[in-house]
């Protein structure tokens, strides 16, 4: 990112006046404004850190380095850089979807930095793997998503309208993909491949920080079995909180309910 500091580049904001730090990290296809209705519940008791992932729409497109952001590790670097720049030594972390995975990886590298991880809509692997692991998606379904993204890219490059949106892909992947199509046409496919190709089952055992897994009643992207799988395999103390709401975006569809659940989880 050259001479721009990471705090400026990723639109880092610190709100609130508590004495403990709390990080809100959004998933692909949205940006930190996804937390805007959850934020007010925490500004009294925490210093809340918000930031945008490098692929978010609100970040200068020039900062997205194709060579760097090939795997999740680069995103983890960004998160740790931000926390270091802010001189944060300990914080709680709330991550949605892919940011939950990023949080887990960060906690493996720096376990003393995170007091707790709250993982909303998280999954270590989205693809099904034989009979033993039901990640929720079949290769064929994901290929549909990729080809829709490819069609968008082609259209866009040739000056036509990229028309495919999340609702056009098969129902199984629809809920998850709905925000993916909001990203730039040139990096959507690239970033989505990173997401769907990641398999973090192997490192779950290395996560020692206590985790709270939050799972909505009907999230078509993340089957209930995945939540159970994670609880069983995470290295530290972990609990599952079943959320009485649907969909993959509870911070958008039921913010006050989620905020309440977060307060409970953070106090435990």
């Amino acid at each position: 990112m050259g001479s721009t500091s990471i705090l400026d580049a990723l639109n880092v904001r610190v709100e609130g006046s508590g004495d403990k730090y709390l990080v809100f990290a959004h998933g692909f296809g949205t940006d930190q404004s996804a937390w805007q209705r959850v934020l007010p519940y925490f500004t009294r008791n925490y210093k809340v850190i918000l930031y945008d992932l490098v692929c978010a729409g609100s970040v200068n497109p020039d900062y997205f380095d194709y060579r760097r952001y090939t795997a999740l590790d680069a995103y983890v670097d960004d998160l740790l850089n931000i926390l270091d720049s802010l001189h944060v030594t300990r914080c709680a972390y709330v991550g949605h979807s892919i940011s939950a995975m990023i949080g887990m990886l960060a906690s493996i590298r720096r376990p003393e930095l995170f007091s707790k991880l709250i993982l909303i809509g998280a999954s270590p692997r989205f693809l099904n793997d034989g009979e033993n692991y039901h990640g929720g998606f079949e290769q064929g379904e994901i290929e549909h998503v990729f080809s829709a993204m490819e069609a968008n890219y082609e259209a866009w490059v040739n000056g036509f309208a990229p028309l495919a949106v999340g609702a056009d892909v098969p129902a199984a992947v629809r809920e998850f993909s709905r925000t993916l199509f909001n990203m730039r046409p040139d990096i959507t496919l690239f970033v989505s491949r990173t997401v769907f190709n990641s398999d973090l089952r192997g490192i779950l055992g290395l996560v020692k920080v206590p985790c709270c897994i939050m799972q909505t009643a009907r999230d078509m992207s993340v089957p209930a079995a995945v939540a159970t799988y994670m609880k069983e395999h995470l290295g530290g103390k972990s609990t599952i909180q079943w959320l009485d709401t649907e969909g993959h975006l509870p911070h958008l569809s039921a913010p006050s309910y989620l905020a309440h659940q977060l307060e409970i989880a953070l106090s435990q």
């Binding site: 904001r13 949205t30 930190q32 729409g57 000056g159 199509f181 958008l252």
Partner: protein, 710 residues
Amino acid sequence: MVGNNLATSVTQLPEEILSKVFAGITHTRTRNSLSLVCQSFYRLERKTRTSLTLRGNARDLYRIPTSFTHVTNLDVSLLSPWGHALFCSPITADSPLLAQRLRNAFPRVTSLTLYVRHPQTLQLLLFNHWPDLRQLRLVRWHQRPQGLQPGSDFAALFSRCRSLTSLDLSSFYHWPEDLPPVLSANTAATASLRRLNLLTTSFTEGFKSNQIESITSSCPNLEHFLVACNFDPRYIGFVGDETLFAIASNCPKLKLLHMADTSSFTNPRGDEEAGEDARLNRGTLEALFSGLPLLEELVLDVCKNVTESSVSLEMLSSKCPNLKVVKLGQFQGICLAIGSRLDGIALCHGLRSLSVNNCGDLDDMGLIEIGRGCSRLVKFEIQGCKLVTEKGLRTMACLLRRTLIDVKVASCVNLDAAATLRAFEPIQDRIERLHFDCVWKENDNFGHGFCNFDLNALDGLNGSELMDSFGRDECGEDTSNRKRQKCVYGSEADDSFLQSNGNSNGYYGNSWDKLQYLSLWIKVGDLLTQLPSAGLEDCPNLEEICIKVEGDCRGQPKPAVSEFGLSILACYPQLSKMQLDCGDTKGFVYTAPSGQMDLSLWERFFLNGIGSLSLNELHYWPPQDEDVNQRCLSLPAAGLLQECYTLRKLFIHGTTHEHFMNFFLKIPNLRDVQLREDYYPAPENDMSTEMRVGSCSRFEDALNRRQICD
């Protein structure tokens, strides 16, 4: 032009003549071209340019052009980023210098439009203010800054500008209690105030009665007064009899009085009968009219019933002889149409423009009476009148054929699209501006209209004959004992229409020759494709169209077709300017439950086909998700807008991501693009991350870097 020395060219005309010629030119691009011809043309053009709207980026303010020294009307409210706190973000030691630079660049300003995010902008600008500043229009769609002292938005204004004649706050969000104390503390300055526009559409509550009384007593010389208020008797401070008495006695010189209930802003197509009555009795209205003999324009948009208004309106005609424009909201009994006697509003013979909203008892007879009495009407608008039908409207159109060119029909149960168009058939070749609702009925009878009158004979016809001949005509079926008369319009016989008269399946071959501006309202989920076949097939001069789509997408089934129907507008060859307002279409951005469509799909549905029109200018209001106060452009919408290759100006009244804006860089001649969140509350920068200041600057730089051929 190189020619022989004896040939004279325009450049040899004396300057005095040339400058008069130039002064008459208003079209900006023509002026810009003129100034490139030669040095003397450049000088003259600059000398005669009196009005300028600045559209640069605020960070470049120090580079402001200094050649426009004769500009008197200056608009700096549209600087980028839109809604920017001018000089104040952040406020530095340079801020007063920048303000001074702006003043020096335009030394002769008399009329200023300014976006005032923080009062400091105004304070800085007025510190060493323009001596001749007379008219001021303030704009603010963002929230009032936290912790602001009451009145501090205006305190600097009145203490520094002692000869202000006009103040317009209609787009400036403030609290009603901010203004009256400032006005009463500066009565020396307010004595020169002639126009005060307090019709702030972002209000939900409006000015209270005592505030209105205070304002009008501080400004005794007001000629134009517009105010948003509340007529509902259940509310504290409602406008009732005392308020109207006060207005008339405090401001007897009023020529324009416009009082609108704030519910008309939030619910413009409101219920026909809200049931409740306003507390305005007849005597009050009569006293109001008597007290304002200079009245030329009257708007009373009361959102509660004013009953039996006919007698008061008769007073209007006798007490206010100069009256030209009237708009009444929820007045009942405006003309009783008893026999053939003219009464009520129909006695206002000099009326040029009449708008009637939600008059539940206005029927066809009433319309005809208005047509007879207000025989010089140029503009007529009707909304929410459930008794009027095609017959009455058509007769009225015939009666007003000589003058009527601007009509609007909305929310009238018996007047669907085809019926409205049929009703205006007699003046089809004269109408210049038209609004109707796109309500399509299943089995439309596209036959010709009913009552055919010999208009030349009408003048001699006395009232009762007219009523009789009309009254007997039931459903258009001609009674056998009445001769059918042909329609003869003026001196030109309209052949094709006469031919179609005899045709039972009369189809209009006629064109709407003079129609320049068309406004449509359509419910979400309905299609536009039936527009030409409903009767609007041929509009050779239609340049501008305004479409409002309204409704709740939540719970709506997915549309059966992929296109709303914008491509149908390609049949209007001159169409170049469009306003597409989906801002009152509500739905879910990301959180649609299963089975329902996200707004991105709705936007795709609405905008599909827009690339096939050759639009020059487009204003677009995206649909909104109320829960999160988000009105943003989605991916398919950005892609579809990018396909409008002839676009030169694009304004999106909402937000969007920077990378979606970058799609528009592919439009070759696009010159002016801006995101204008002119709805209340406009999103604050820190919460709406879609267009940050940096994004806006990067985009505009990229836009301006391109080579434009013209």
